[in-house]
Symmetry: C2
Subunit: 254 residues, 2 copies
């Protein structure tokens, strides 16, 4: 039975996609079967793995509006590593879903038949708290929150926690829990990074991962080659930190 | 008659808020009267100027749903520098606006009576192409597009240009034009920065500003003090580049 983890934070550019792709790749390297679901209309997880989003005919959009099932859109990336791609159609999904039945549970229902086929299902979320993120949170067991080592990154956390709390109380997903909080783009030369780290530690206490992702240019270069960090630069600090994170996620099993 | 400029790019974390606050401040320094409108539910422009978003009772949300007029919510930041603040209520606005009359023109109508009172109205947009961004584009004369010097930043440009084109053809704003494209967080030591710059130059040709905003830690520190870059670190490369940008925007008058 797959563990479903949503990678989410409505603040933009904090490393959601970078974490989704590279955590998935490192879990596969550690022997897990992983499905990555791209729930962002920017389709960065899709293009970051070398797939042309404009050439994707049926995507997660068609699954959400009921025109395809998930099995039909899944593409193999590597052995034991599959992707449910996005494409620009997803821009219209939030408005279209508003009038549909069980609009918050479309992704959860679509994932149900596939949970036996994977060990992990990772969901890359868009930078908003709209229906696509609500669908992702409703479908997930746990939430992994990437936090950039910057001032604005702290600002939005309370809103995110409120949304998770509302979702739990609404009955849409009463067992949803925070898997962990991940510090990204950490630069040990900057005071700002240290200050943000201290604030996050006092706010989240034991929920924060011991693994910290450093700022590492290899991480921002790898998507332009359509490769994960362990393919593109296996000896980089970026690759090592995501391998470390995969170990920590596995050790927090269940 | 104020020039209304929307600062937009649906890619997250590219420098929309940093550009909105600091371009506004540098235009004020150059003798202009400026209104900054925060159209993002994260309210980063509001908090970046030192205002507690949770203490803001009536915000741009109340203006969009018709419960307040813009004049009532405006706060002075400095002489000739006003802010129309946001607060977390704005999260619900996209869904609530869907059923309202003239839902795309709410901001445009609200700004109309104030256009004589300012020389510039700057609108900070959220990282999405939903109704809040559509409202901002409909209300604007021009669009300023910040582009981070990263691979994913190039990916989303076509979608943004398509949205602007659709908006023009729909009649919502047939004269909307791109004011300029701004390269942000440029690091001259990185090949990736140079590559992205070349791609953007060949894509946008003369629309790209000569001013390039360098990666400068002072820019990410200043919001934690509630200050603009020219108050916090007037001699920094960040301050100088935004002062340079203000000059370029003024020289492109009308
Ligand atoms: N640890 C890191 N070191 C250096 N660059 C990074 C790191 N993590 C991410 N990046 C780069 O920073 C940018 C933002 O990261 P990413 O796109 O993964 O964030 P996101 O949260 O998914 O953004 P969005 O909100 O638009 O979905 C990207 O260009 C990415 O390549
Ligand atoms: N030139 C720069 N040098 C260094 N840091 C910067 C620069 N510009 C912006 N930043 C920092 O990068 C982060 C992202 O910038 P900002 O929040 O302005 O982007 P945004 O596009 O408004 O994000 P969102 O999509 O969430 O609205 C912030 O923490 C900001 O302080
Ligand atoms: Mg992303
Ligand atoms: Mg912003």
């Amino acid at each position: 039975m797959a563990r479903v983890i949503a990678i989410t934070n409505q603040k933009g550019g904090v490393g959601k996609t970078t974490t989704s792709i590279n955590l998935a790749a490192c879990l596969v390297e550690a022997g897990q079967r992983v499905l990555l679901v791209d729930m962002d209309s920017q389709a960065n997880s899709t293009s970051g793995l070398g797939i042309d989003k404009n050439a994707v005919e049926t995507s997660i959009y068609h699954v959400l509006i009921g025109e395809a099932n998930l099995q039909e859109i899944i593409r193999p990336i590597a052995v034991d590593f599959d992707l449910a791609p996005s494409n620009p159609h997803l821009i219209g999904a939030e408005v279209e879903l508003i009038q549909t039945l069980a609009r918050e549970q479309r992704l959860k229902n679509a994932l149900q038949p596939l949970r036996e086929a994977y060990d992990f299902i990772i969901i890359d979320c868009p930078p908003s708290l709209g229906l696509l993120t609500i669908n992702s949170l409703t479908a997930s067991d746990k939430v992994l929150i990437p936090i950039q080592s910057e001032y604005y990154a702290l600002e939005g956390l309370q809103q995110l926690l409120n949304t998770i709390e509302l979702l739990k109380r609404s009955g849409l997903n009463s067992t949803l829990d925070i898997e962990g909080v991940l510090i990204t783009m950490y630069d040990q030369r900057l005071n700002l990074s240290k200050q943000v780290m201290e604030e996050v530690e006092s706010f989240f206490k034991d929920k924060i991962y011991k693994t910290v992702i450093p700022r590492n240019v290899r991480l921002s270069e790898s998507p332009s080659f359509g490769q994960t960090i362990i393919e593109y630069a296996p000896d980089s600090s970026g690759a090592q930190s995501y391998q470390q994170l995969a170990k920590e996620v596995l050790s927090r099993e269940g």
